[in-house]
Amino acid sequence: MTNLWSELFSFSNYGELLILLRNSILAAAVLGLTGGLVGVFVMARDLPFAVHAISELSFAGAAAGLLFGIGVVEGSLAGSLTAALLIGILGSRARDRNSIIAVLMPFGLGLGIVCLSLYTGRAANKFGLLTGQIVAVDNPRLLSLLIICGIVIAALLVIWRPLMFVSVDPQVAEARGVHSVALSIAFMILLGMATAVSVQIVGALLVLSVLVTPAAAALRVSASPVLVPLLSTLFALTAMLGGIMLALGGSIPISPYVTTISFLIYLACRAWAAHHNRQARSTPIGIAHDSPR
């Protein structure tokens, strides 16, 4: 029992580890910020399932990158952008989208497994793509992550309002001159980029805990267009940073810590919302205390 405990949590030489893993902590923070913001639109546009498909193809790309020596970053970006664009262009209607996603997902996973089986390098690299690894963030990889996340966040803030308009009612937005197709494709590209960087850190199987769970939790407790992105970002940051702090001590990958924290936050938000609802039966969920009713 003590053995298991020390595998999960061990904090000897913690201070030294923190300094050594400065890169990893920075990466986690930036990823949390990106995931929290992107997640708001993943929820608003009903794309959680799509995120999963994109991450599987991103995994295939990363595995191919590893096998052919092109590089994991390049490979995972190529994979996730391909998936995101396919879903964005072919699946504008929800029904089409679901079937396209279901077709892409096993194909991506299969492709990735082929590449990993053929790969003869370090085994830790293989496992890392599926379940995440945070310790080996070297400077060039951190730089690529910072650049990609920077682009995603900046672009998302620029298109935030019209993208929200299009997500609420594409017909009305189009009537006002908003290009709904262009914006949807643009968002899919940003989503692909965000997924690619997430796959490298938390792993292909657990991307949803960064790109979906925090926003879903935030939506439970608020409907404010300002508070939801703020809370979502806060939740994602907590999960990522909390996850890495705990992962440093133990010997298992970072992802279970991240997913668990993310899940607990979600549970807490649900409980809060349920409690709040019971208190005010007629009051719909939302931070609305300041307005008289």
Binding site: I159, R161, M164, V168, V172, E174, R176, A223, P225, A288
Partner: protein, 288 residues
């Protein structure tokens, strides 16, 4: 100050002469099927146009054509004196009802606010003027009590009022509504149609409304456009909604009965059923 006022008055007078919408010999065909052809229509400021016709007659396509989202097969459409282009800031559009998803992080007031600046890039900065504009509109559409509620939690009638608020807050010259009264109870129908009617004359705003039932807007409509079987009839309510005109359009005997200030259409083919019977509890005489 006086200069700008008189200038504004002058532009308003000039604007009053140019029709807001002008369709000339407009036709729309999908494959071999003609939805409507040789449609000529001018909509002037303050005018209320009702578009009627059976399902599939191309009513929604007509609105989309005016919005520049549906190219014509032939003919032309001008909006505010210029050929239509894709989307227009001076047009408010209320498409057929579609409920807002719960995953949308917007409260009622944010939803209405999208009508002001939802098309703009960049983040919105907090602004007192914007806030006041939204508050005023919420009061106009009687939505103040649920202004802070999540959109996805509101009823169909509440959402519909907010959609009208969202369309009107941009102060459009033209309001296009696609069945705005559907799925509303009689009180709400009256509230919504009065809201649309009240907003038009003072603002010089034209309204084009698709409706399957003319009765809720009977006292308001200036012009009726009736689309059926690839044909178009345009005119006043009395000129178009007659047994002779509708029988010719549908090529089957149709009776138009006027009773207690309401219009009932009897004998339509099943696929084209419209003209609701008076609902129980509906006051005789219909709407003013």
């Amino acid at each position: 100050m006086t200069a700008t006022t008189s200038q504004r008055a002058k532009t308003r007078r000039a604007a009053a002469k140019t029709p807001i919408v002008a369709l000339r010999d407009a036709s729309l065909r999908f494959g071999s099927r003609t939805l409507w052809s040789r449609l000529n229509l001018q909509v002037h400021p303050g005018e209320f146009v009702a578009v009627l016709g059976p399902n599939g007659a191309g009513k929604t396509s007509l609105l989309r054509a005016i919005l520049g989202l549906q190219p014509l097969t032939s003919g032309s459409i001008e909006l505010l004196g210029a050929p239509v282009r894709r989307g227009h800031r001076q047009v408010g559009y209320i498409p057929q009802q579609r409920l807002v998803d719960r995953g949308i992080p917007l409260r009622a007031r944010d939803f209405v606010g999208l009508g002001l600046d939802g098309h703009r890039f960049g983040l919105a900065l907090p602004s007192g003027a914007r806030r006041r504009a939204v508050d005023t509109m919420l009061a106009t559409i009687d939505a103040t009590s649920f202004a802070a509620s999540r959109m996805g939690n509101l009823s169909g009638g509440e959402q519909q009022r907010l959609r009208i608020g969202q369309a009107l807050i941009g102060n459009p010259r033209l309001l296009l509504c696609d069945e705005p009264l559907i799925s509303l109870d009689l009180n709400q129908q009256r509230a919504v149609s009065n809201l649309i009617n009240a907003s038009r004359r003072s603002a010089g705003r034209a309204v084009v409304m698709i409706t399957h039932d003319i009765n809720p807007v009977l006292g308001m409509v200036d012009t009726v456009v009736y689309l059926a079987g690839g044909q178009v009839r345009t005119g006043t309510v009395d000129g178009v909604l007659t047994s002779a005109v509708l029988s010719e359009l549908y090529q089957t005997p149709v009776d138009v009965i006027r009773t207690r200030g309401r219009i009932l259409v009897v004998g339509l083919p099943d696929t084209a059923y419209e003209g609701h019977e008076a609902a129980p509890g509906h006051p005789p005489g219909g709407l003013p």
